[in-house]
Symmetry: C2
Subunit: 325 residues, 2 copies
Amino acid sequence: MKILIDCFGCDNPKEWTRGIADAINQVDGVSIIAVGDRDFIEDSLSGETFDRSRLEIVHTTEMITNDDFPAEAIRKKRDSSLVRALKMLRDDDSIKALISAGSTGAVLVGSIVIIGNCEGVERPGLSALMPCDNGKTVLIADCGANMDCDADNLLDFARYGSSYIKSVYGIEKPAVALLSVGVEDKKGNNLTKEAFALLKESGLNFVGNMEARDALSGKYDVIVTDGFPGNVLIKSFEGAAKTVSGMMAQYLMKNAPKDTDLSFVKKSFGQLGAALDTSSTGGAVLLGLKKIVIKSHGNATAINTVNSIKQAKKMIEGGYLDDLG
Amino acid sequence: MKILIDCFGCDNPKEWTRGIADAINQVDGVSIIAVGDRDFIEDSLSGETFDRSRLEIVHTTEMITNDDFPAEAIRKKRDSSLVRALKMLRDDDSIKALISAGSTGAVLVGSIVIIGNCEGVERPGLSALMPCDNGKTVLIADCGANMDCDADNLLDFARYGSSYIKSVYGIEKPAVALLSVGVEDKKGNNLTKEAFALLKESGLNFVGNMEARDALSGKYDVIVTDGFPGNVLIKSFEGAAKTVSGMMAQYLMKNAPKDTDLSFVKKSFGQLGAALDTSSTGGAVLLGLKKIVIKSHGNATAINTVNSIKQAKKMIEGGYLDDLG
């Protein structure tokens, strides 16, 4: 199984690229095509021991950064690691997925222009994968790439989101919910009212409207939304988690008697951080593209490379695009 | 200063009504007109000691509940505590504010129909008041009453929200921000792009776009948004706070050595709860009405009665409607 890694465009390209060695050591059955400057890639991997026969390097001379205008960069930087990788994914059916930690805009635009959307899909959705209270993972789409969606867009996010959860987690009928301002059928805005009707007739396991406070309850596998409130949802959780754990740390430090052994408090914060760590669930998936493209965090490190490659493997083996693409 | 209390329509009317006695004891210079069934009100206050000369009871025979359709209830239940109170507020200029903990829909519809909007205001906004990391309070409007807003609606929320913060907290030029998906000027959807242009020209202290994760940072006094993402924002914070503090409690209990005195942990959770408690900031305000109407939580208790009355007093004394109404 061949997977492409775009080595450039992220904050820590060296760390990100170094993760390829870890992935080869930890994930069976995959070979990696690393795309970027050959010397840089060789240098990033120089201290690592791994099966070199499972790595191919494709040398490119340009890179796309967050300072580039996405559409222009995709058009003009033809020898960038991202554009070259996307073209290889498009042209070579033996290559199954592309993972990039580069500019979200460039990955999105490049994927739409070079790979193309699945039949009937107008706009690919960007998913966020968040860890739930009960250890499950919830997919939220769209999480900020698509503003001013229509109801058909939301139906597409639901279909591809369901297929993602089914392929990666083996859940036969993922529970799909619609983000709204109340759980009652009639609650919401013009968009959610239209989308509600479509989802009800979709044949998916649509469980109705849900409220933001229950997003991580584990009751839902897929939460469908326009990208604007979707983005508000994930950033609110992020902000609140930081605020609440920060306040709690302050209070505990202030209130603890002087000679208290606080190692159990430290351990607890470590566990909290691990439970809330979204990197364990992999990168964001572009839902509705003809091929598998995963967008990892801009500040990704080696652990994200490994997790995204594991995620891609599960999607491929689980048949993510088989009924849809 | 006369303030109306709608005694009915909430989950704990007895507790809510009993709070009137506490308010009279704690808040100087206000007299209360309690509207509802006379016997019930007398009974709720029977064990309390307070200056009876500062309480007037207006007897009504009906009540509006959450099971009523708001518009129909306002039209038909003419002797309900809410409708009677709204009419008194409209007709008697010596009465300065109305506080209700009843059905949000009925309070909104009743206020629009009976009190009316300020000149030029199409839809009154419902504000949420949330405590920030640094002890400040941020007003978020709309927080869920108005779906599918236009840019003019958002400008109204900004104007009345600013006036609220100025009147209650004495901040001369409240910092107004627009909820979006990034801080850059061009980020957002069609609505925020239009609203951005209006806010920039508004003469308010508009500080630009903000992201949901920074809502409680204390950098902003007023956050303006359509009611759909506004509702997602406040419910996400609520959900995340519950999730994170719940997880932290579990970890601490599990990790603490057997003989640890956990009273400092308990104290810390108490402080966290107090810091996150929105009841301290008062009820939601209907922004853009001709008179002051405050909507307290449906599950309000006596402390909410007191805080809402304090809040109303500050709004009146601070001249909330003086430049606007």
